[in-house]
Each structure stands twice: as C-alpha cells, then as structure tokens.
C-alpha cells in the first residue's frame, strides 16, 4: 500500500470512528432500551429491503439502518435481517467513486482496481462501521440482527460474510457465502468452507448468503444442524421477475421445512441493477393462503419492510407429521452422496 493509500484509509477510519457513530446512534435511539420477550408460538421476524444509496457520510448509513431497526422494534420483532453486501452504500465515502467504478477490473482508462483489492483495503473500515451500528441497534432494541453480508478481508482473502448480532450487542456469529456467483469468482472472492447454525433463546438460526439458497444442499445441511429459521440476505443483479425470484429461498423452505427470512438490497451500482422483494416464507401448510408466503414487500426496486409472526412449535409439529416430507433412505444416500459431486465439476 502506498503512503497516499495508507493516509486515505486512515482518513476514512477517522471519518467513521466509533465515537462519532455512537453519538449519532444515541441521538437516534431515544427512550429506554427494549427487553426481549420470546414466544416460540408467536415470534415476529422482520426483513429490510434497503435501497442502495451511496452515502457521503457514515452517519447517513447509520440513520438508514436505524430506521429499519426502529420499525422492527415497533412491530414487536425479535429478529431483523438486512441484505447482502450491506456495506455497498458506504462506498459513497470514497471521493470519485463513480470514476473509480469504471476502472474496477480494468474496464476504464485509469489503473485497474480489482473488487477484491477494494474490499481488502476498505473492508476493515466498513466492518467497523457495521459493528458499531448493529451492536448498538441490537442492544438498544433487544433484537437479534442478521446485519446482512460484508465483503470481509481475512489474511489476504476476501469472503462475503454475514454477521449476526445478539441483543447483548455481541457479534454472535458469522457465515461466509459458500456458493459464489460467476461475478464473485471474477472478483476473486473466496468461498466459505462450512455452514453454521446458532442457538438463540427462541430457536436455531442460520444465515447463508444469496446464491447459497439456490442449492438444496445448503438448507438440508442447515436443517440437519437444527436450523429452524434461515435468514438469507440477497443482492440480486438482475431485472425482477417473480419466477426467477422463486428459485431461491422459497423452494428451499418447502423442501427442508424451515422458516425463511429474505432481505434484499435494491438499486443501481456500477452499472448493475439490483432487485428483489424482502419477505418471510414458511412451509405451505403454515401459511394462510397455502402459498408459502407470510409477508412480502410490494415493489422490487424501492425501499421496503416485511414482517410476520412465526410459530416455531407449529413448525416442529409439521416436521413430525408432514404427509410427504421427512422420509429417509440411508441406503440411497450412502450410495450417491457425496460421490455424485465428483462428476459435476463443482
């Protein structure tokens, strides 16, 4: 890193220092902190649909994130989920980001900047902003928060990492995205190596990221590890179509019998249009319309908020009684798994 780059990172770190953000959070979070009260028969989960607006000041970012937490608390939520790549609005802190975007991976006239390089440098600053923000919001509102995912540098590699905060304010868990998109491979990101499930007072929670929900293996493994609620932060770079959107969390919830909470990042960045609808999903018999959807935002391209009550006891009962699911065929599974993957070039 050149002296100029080092100075710039220090300048950014100063501009986003925790003391400044905490002061702002204290202004925003008025009144008494909330004491969590969990009921497995009626647990409210909420999902943020964040519009990607580049922020010139980290306090603007904090303000946006706070607005969702306040709304979730008002709705009586115990869990709030934010989207994939939730640090992207902070790219607005970079002077000339628009011009720099043209040079990402050598597309413009200036010196090429790889996306991995960008987050190798900025990740620690952005992740500190996230920690300050979500630790405070989780503590103040008594929420479990899946803060979305953050391109996170670790020993030279960059993971797309979801962060989970407990109402104590502690970072309770992380999940690295296991299935990278073609673009993330091009960006030289590194895939995660395992799936994790975390125990909360209301149930077992997991947070795989976006493309992970394309594959049944993700939810099978998580359900096998005891997951009851699977939060999926997404940032989907394609024009919205309900059928394309149906290929992710919805079928995974149906086949593995879990609740699903999807949060979406929407808007424009670097020439890509991100779309998606935040929503709360459940196995068909646990939804009033029998369609697997408990709540979903109306518009796929603007800010939104979805929340619904989950009945984790009903989920447990359904797993024991489902007419079609829950069967086991160990002989078949042993014969084919994991050997079949060797033929697929994964």
């Amino acid at each position: 890193m050149t002296l100029k780059e080092t100075l710039f990172i220090r300048y950014l770190a100063h501009k986003t220092r925790p003391a400044v953000l905490q002061r702002h959070l204290q202004t925003l979070c008025k009144g008494c902190a909330t004491t969590p009260d969990y009921n497995r028969r009626q647990l409210t989960a909420a999902a943020a649909q964040v519009h990607l607006d580049l922020v010139p000041d980290a306090r603007d970012y904090v303000g946006t994130m706070h607005s969702f937490a306040a709304r979730a608390a008002e709705a009586g939520a115990s869990l709030l989920v934010y989207p994939e790549n939730n640090s992207f609005p902070l790219l607005g802190l970079l002077p000339g980001i628009g011009e720099m975007a043209k040079n990402l991976d050598g597309e413009g006239d200036g010196p090429a900047v790889s996306v991995a390089d960008l987050f190798r440098a900025l990740g620690p600053v952005f992740n500190r902003v996230a920690h300050t923000t979500f630790s405070h919001l989780a503590r103040h509102y008594g929420l479990w928060i899946v803060a979305g995912s953050y391109p996170t540098p670790v020993q030279g590699r960059v993971f797309n990492r979801a962060l989970i905060y407990a109402p104590s304010g502690a970072l309770a868990g992380t999940q690295d995205k296991v299935h990278l998109t073609l673009q993330e491979h091009q960006w030289a990101f590194t895939p995660g190596a395992d799936f994790r499930v975390y125990t909360t007072p209301f149930g077992r929670l997991a947070a795989p990221v976006c493309m992970d929900a394309t594959y049944f293996e993700t939810f099978r493994i998580l359900a096998g590890l005891g997951a009851e609620i699977v939060a999926v932060p997404i940032a989907n770079p394609e024009a919205y179509n309900p059928w394309l959107a149906l290929r992710g969390i919805w079928p995974r919830v149906q086949e593995s019998l879990v609740y699903g909470v999807k949060s979406a990042l929407v808007g424009e960045l670097f020439g890509h249009t991100l779309t998606g609808k935040a929503g709360i999903f459940a196995p068909l018999p646990l939804t009033p319309n029998g369609d697997g959807v408990l709540a979903e935002t109306q518009h796929p391209d603007r800010e939104g908020f979805a929340c619904a009550a989950l009945d984790l006891e009903a989920l447990r009962e359904l797993r024991e009684q489902h007419p079609y699911l829950g069967d086991k065929n160990p002989a078949l599974m042993k014969k084919y798994f994991p050997g079949i993957y060797s033929t697929m070039g994964g």
Binding site: F216, P251, E255, N329, L332, M333, K334, P338
Partner: protein, 288 residues
Amino acid sequence: MRVVALGFGGAELDSAGRLHDYVAGVLAAYPPEEERLVVLPGLAGLYLGQCFGWLGKPGSTEEAYGAYLEFMAAQPGILEDIFGKLARENGCWLVTGSFPVRDAGNLYHEAALISPRGDVAGRQRQVFLSRAEKALGMSRGEDLHVFAAGSMKLGLLLQTDGFYPETGRILAAKGAGLVAHCGALPEGDNRWLQFSALWQQVQQNQFFAVESQLCAEVGGVAYGADCRIHAPTEMTEGYTGILAEGREPVSAVPDEKARQTVIQGYPLLKLLNPLAYGSLACEGGEGV
C-alpha cells in the same frame, strides 16, 4: 423428442383396447415422424386394474393394493404385455406410470420404460415414501437410473420422490436431460405443492421434466393435479419454467440445444461447492 403427459382425466378405459385408442387418439394430433415419449401417471397400475375390472370394487386404498397384488400373482406380466403392445402399436417410448410390485416379500412402487419395439428398456422403483405409503408397509428402492430413450437421457421419479431434491441431483449428476415424474396427488389446490416438487428440481438442475399427474379415483380416493412440462426458466415464455400445463393431454418438444445454451450462460452445477458439504453432504450420506 415430443413428450406427452397423460393423467387419464375423463377417459373411458374399461379395456386394453380403449387404452390403446385413448393413447392413439392423443398422439394423432402430433406429426407421426416425431420421436415420441408418453408418460402415464402415478398409480396407473391400480387405476387401470380397477378400470379393467381386475380389482372388483375396492372401497379403500388398502383394498385396491390387496386386490391388485392378488390379481397379478395369478396373471403375472399381463399389464406389461398391454404396455408393450401399446408402445409398439403407437411407435412411442412409454413410461408406464407406477404400479405395485412384490419382490422378496417387500412391496414397492415401480415404473417401467418401454421402447417403441415394446421391450422393457428399464425399471425404476420409488425411493422416498409418503406417510401414507409407509402405513401401507411399502419399501424403498435404493438406486436411481438414467436410461437412453431415443435422443434423450431419461430419469424416472415416482410420486413422493418429486419432493426430495436429492433425487433430481442424482439424476442430473448421472447426465439426465429429461426426467419423467409419475405423480398422484389427492385432489385439491395442488398448484404450490407442485412448484415445491418438480418445478424446483428442474430449476436447480437445469434438466427438462414431464410431470404426469393422475386425474381419477382409485380405491375411493380422488386424485387430481395439473400435468406439466418443465424447463429452465430462461427458455420459457415469461420465465415461468413451464412449457405446457393443464389437465391433459399436455405436450411439448423440449429444445435440447436451447437448454445447453442456458447452462453455458448460467452453469449452476459447476458453481456447487462440495468442499463445504463435508461429512454432512446430505442426511444419511457418507460420514453422517
């Protein structure tokens, strides 16, 4: 290859001759020079046995299975002969739909693939069971096969198998380009249930599927759901993932070249990350 899904909805099938006329009548609507695959629904054996008067008048599902097995013990091979003749006379590949078979004291659902010459080209047993099937004392097959059926590599799924994504993944890994599903869902609003089965299997494996759903009564239970022909969303109008759907007959000519183009643009199975599946590759898998 033209694929045709039949569900027996509204057909008068009181004899093998009527069954032949029914299939021939459907196929007459399509160009005779086409390579053709006809897929019959789940519980086809029981339903046809009931229609042909082999089962008496079963008042329950249990009675229907009992009567069918008793009849087949006395006249083994009779249904296969009918299916062989049906495929031969119509010049089509035929997936027979499912029928109960006893083997070494175990009861299975099985389907056969019949070639246009009338030979049995392959057999597939159901590998996952519903709660009701378990209550009937049924057993599970332990293999999933892919067969050469004309220009297609074909896998077969029976009834409950459609809800288990492991089945589609195995068939995709074995190179299936087309999966035929013989289904039987109790009548009702099955739209979303069907999306949670074959539709999602197609989307996460990028093969074609033809879903034949029984639309008839067997043993006092009314079955009814749409037949569908599925394809990856990118190659269907409005991205629905459905080439054709309805009660029956439902038909389409899946475009293999277009499917390969979709896979090239979005190579889903190459983006799997088996290293992360570790010892938990799947429940019941190695090391679990």
